[in-house]
Symmetry: C2
Subunit: 514 residues, 2 copies
Amino acid sequence: MNGADRLCDALLVNGVDVCFANPGTSEMHFVAALDRKPQMRCVLGLFEGVVTGAADGYARMADKPAATLLHLGPGLANGLANLHNARRARTPMINVVGDHASYHLALDAPLTSDIESLARPMSHWVGRAAGPDDVAPVCGAAYAAAMSHPGVSTLILPADAAWSAAHDTPLAPTQVPQPAPIADTALAAAVAALKSGRKAALLLAGKALRVDALAAAGRIAAATGVTLFSQVSGRSERGAGRVYARPVPYPIDMAIATLADLEVVVLVGGRVPVGFFAYPGKPGVLLPEGCEVVELATHANDLSAALEALAEALGAKAPPVTSGWTARDLPAPTGALTPDAISIAVARALPEGAILCDEALTSGGRYPMLAPIMAPHDHLPITGGAIGIGIPLSAGAAVAAPGRKVVNLQADGSGMYTVQGLWTQARENLDVVTIVFSNRAYAILQGEMRNVGVNTFGRNASRMLTLSDPDLDWVSLARGMGVEAARATTIEGFADLFDAALRRTGPFLIEAVL
Amino acid sequence: MNGADRLCDALLVNGVDVCFANPGTSEMHFVAALDRKPQMRCVLGLFEGVVTGAADGYARMADKPAATLLHLGPGLANGLANLHNARRARTPMINVVGDHASYHLALDAPLTSDIESLARPMSHWVGRAAGPDDVAPVCGAAYAAAMSHPGVSTLILPADAAWSAAHDTPLAPTQVPQPAPIADTALAAAVAALKSGRKAALLLAGKALRVDALAAAGRIAAATGVTLFSQVSGRSERGAGRVYARPVPYPIDMAIATLADLEVVVLVGGRVPVGFFAYPGKPGVLLPEGCEVVELATHANDLSAALEALAEALGAKAPPVTSGWTARDLPAPTGALTPDAISIAVARALPEGAILCDEALTSGGRYPMLAPIMAPHDHLPITGGAIGIGIPLSAGAAVAAPGRKVVNLQADGSGMYTVQGLWTQARENLDVVTIVFSNRAYAILQGEMRNVGVNTFGRNASRMLTLSDPDLDWVSLARGMGVEAARATTIEGFADLFDAALRRTGPFLIEAVL
């Protein structure tokens, strides 16, 4: 029994039984300990961005953390971009980052780096095991932080804490504090806002976008006429029969216009909406001047209970308005293979209970309009703007939810960031259909260049904003990692491939050449 | 004229005319400014680890920094692992990291993060432009730091510093301090050590491994009998007719045995050798107890001048011992396709002036023994142990040294980390032959598992330490990114492919199935 064994036990006693991993030498004792625990499922990623993105997708669906296993500072660094997304999604996660033996650090061996400095910007909690008997309590603290913030915990495991003998004392599940109830003053302020007769909106985020919370929000909307908006969140339950909260648009001008007539907003789990980026001469806060902001509840509250309390205080008993499942009755798209056409084809065919991972960016087509009339599904988007999440996110979601179809809407430039995740999909035979929108450009940046007034690109700009010359061949890339794949150049061909992919089990990739 | 234009001018006036880039929205004004400067060569990488690894390879060959262009904290994070290697190689580099407009930071928009905290562990210098007129002086400071440490400078460029109007004052090249001369006391101590009759070694690192410095070291060895060792460094000039300093081995037991009889070592540009990792019961410092350490010069000195001074003080005028170019006369290897056989085939065929990038790890074969009898070449290894350097490093070296053949010895597991770099090789038509050692395992870790006493792997360990199930198909991966490729399964087939690859120009990949 050593510190590494204690770490396995402390994870397992808290129900953490999946470990996405890319280990190195300093973690060999932890690997050996994991090898003694067949009840822990270890999933290898061939790059750490795959590991952390998969852990994010897993926890968004499982509502409990996976562990990750990362090798020293550089291994953590490779995983940071998707930890950034997980932090913004407030995904529970426990990163285990190996470090040199404590006495070896002063020698500044080649792989030494300041792991804490790297970890803090993308973690809600950072800790380090002081020795083998400290491993289990530190793991418990990491678990409690991951569940109660909720968010990303990073636990640094020195090699000597892992390999040294530890006491085999009994371990109990870590007690996690219950979410705080909302304050009476917050509830009263929200009631007053919604009864004021002013133009009002509920801004829903995080777990306020799950079915029960949405139902309460829908009753509130039916009773008061308040508009429901959603902010980008880790997981949104959407589709026919569910209340839909309209996403605040990404483009700055559209976002400002959408929110322009609001006089009061009630925040439920989110924050005052701000521009994704600053633009010269445009505001950073998206709400109109003078709009009152009332915070009903934060991510640390039980958002479903908060909305139920608000509904009850308002006497909102009427059933919410939802749509029926009519996307399947839309006419089949014809003509050019465009994002709009693809979004309609996907909306028609998506099976009930599907998980839709969304890193489509400029290729999302009409999805925001189609979502409420599609089959009931979960929507898992990129949350922090750090591209390269779709492929690993879909892998992790599939690990968490066997039996549910995962469809990943994948922009090509972003997909290349963590393309290695296709191999994990193949090895674990994960039921993921990846749709690559092959527009061969950083299309979002070409739009942003026009936003800054540059409409004609010279050699340097065009070389930096296009992915052509040579074109990427996604079918070859997928096959190189053991994932079957095919290319679509017409919408009819795409629809046929998508139907076939939905009927089979296991990973499949469709390159949609736009 | 805005801050972004000033940055371009400040780079160009210092001779920094290559920018490896993966831009984002917050850097659009810098992209627009680069577009106005056709004399700046912008090279796109489809992932930031490619960008920073390529900038490392470029500067190792050019002896001057390239710029990188990285998007906010997550973009920097993706490049950190190869910045770690560059930091250990003391490669001059200027990272330009975009950030939100200064007034937008307080809003904590989704892509906001603590860039300084992320940058410091892998940078020698970190700075932030305070406004548009601060951009040029900050860039000058970044350049001076990159050249004089030498090492990695990271310059944070807020969007409003880039887009705001700047004064068009004349810019002069930044004055870089000359390397400090070595102290007389250091020289005297080194002379005394080498005249003491004790068993002595010169430990050479950094620019002490260039031809002129090696020649001086070789004269010292011829005169005094001192042994020449090399430490892992960014660039070593090796091959027939050059003085060879034997690398300190990586495996801990072999390293300790190799250095066991030393009584005094003289450091020239490096540090006391330490174990790459700590192992229970084994020392961290590789020198025997009681071995005296004399520091003749550090990376901040002119190492060639330091060795010349030492040679002169010792009256070492006899020509150094070098070997002839006999690897081409070795018998062609036959039989199984093994790392040993491949290293012999490469040694026979490598053309004069080639650049050998080396991320072979466990597949290096007999290269350390063959190096002194191969054609004169430059050796560019992984320096900091952060895997995923070979493909981008070779791309950057090829950008810096057109007309020279680049051969990249690439372990498969490491190659997957930054596989996207193959696309950059294709787009820029870089003259790189990549040899992938396809052993379908993290072979180095399988050895380390045995080192910790685990000889039989269960499901979890074998799933984390092998790359099979499914096997990676490197030929498909390369073709998917526009790089021609072929597979070798016999040593004869490998030799034929390698010869053909050397005769053509442009990127080619050989998957050597071990």
